[in-house]
Symmetry: C2
Subunit: 220 residues, 2 copies
Amino acid sequence: MSKVDIGKKMLSENDRLAAENRVRFAEAGLLVLNLISSPGSGKTALLESTLDRLPDGVRVLVIEGDVSTDRDIERVRAHGADGVQINTAGGCHLSAKMVGKVLPDLNLDGADVLFVENVGNLICPSTYDLGEDAKVVLLSTTEGDDKPMKYPAIFHESSVAVINKIDLLPHLTYDIERAEREIGVLNADCDILRVSALKGTGMDEWIAWILRKMKEKRGE
Amino acid sequence: MSKVDIGKKMLSENDRLAAENRVRFAEAGLLVLNLISSPGSGKTALLESTLDRLPDGVRVLVIEGDVSTDRDIERVRAHGADGVQINTAGGCHLSAKMVGKVLPDLNLDGADVLFVENVGNLICPSTYDLGEDAKVVLLSTTEGDDKPMKYPAIFHESSVAVINKIDLLPHLTYDIERAEREIGVLNADCDILRVSALKGTGMDEWIAWILRKMKEKRGE
């Protein structure tokens, strides 16, 4: 079997397992968001800030994906979320199989939203469906405004792009309109939000986006 | 053949081609540095600043690796380097094969240093030898001080860690001593430099590091 055939077989096996996860999530009426970004764009900080701001009564689960360490699951647990950590042992993305394997450790029924924080990598996670409802790409103002066109696949795939660390804009040469324009060229249907997870700016719009998607998922 | 066997075969094939590249670089007496970081840590900005600061008479070549676009090679050419762009068409790292394929397009003889800017990815490039003399890992103060332990492989492999964007430290909660301590735990032999490619801080030490490695390579 050629390398290309092996690659295709791995992806189609992943798609099969993602479909199984998707059925399980639908049974539980659970919104599932797959968070993808470079290392250090602030995925965990966004989750912490989100957990602090979601209305009372919204039950949140988190799956944390990392190459190494369980630091992130400790951080989100401190903000009240139930969750599990997946260590990929060097692997550069989560797979549907890894996610499916930890679902028995989570109490899905009665939960409203599951955040899956993928491994910090703007490339490989874009091609692996986990069974999510939407991919959320996070980018940071400190990374340079040319990232959308340089890493186009994830912007094609995402339902929303969250531009984080806007509180640092006064200290940077980042052209946020350029980044937004490039995202629009790559995917006209991608919502775009400007936030500072640390300072709270724009978090109301992000919370409203999540609540709207939760309602859509429940068919309201 | 199992997935694991295929993976091992691909890596051993890469190692064979990396050894061929290494022979070619040795014949030319050329120092080759493989630059690895997350997207947006400032690899291209570091190269631009380096090109402006290397002594007259040092002949520099650049290979730019990107998933998409040829923006980076245009940037470094504007600072006087000869070079070529490799587009990986979605691929998450450079390979020895990709590098070997563009070497005929570069005039290696009489060149002093070749910078290979890898695809923006802190994970996958760490396992692919390109035939370089040293891996250079670049991290940025805006990415959070917990990155070394979260992405340990590249710190194991690197000869020097360059911590960029130190001019932004007053606006961040980044604990630079923590990051440096973690790098030291992972790899006691890894040199550590603090720079701001944009403002020029620490660039003298980085230039001195390169010149020292050039001398070592020529056996001086």
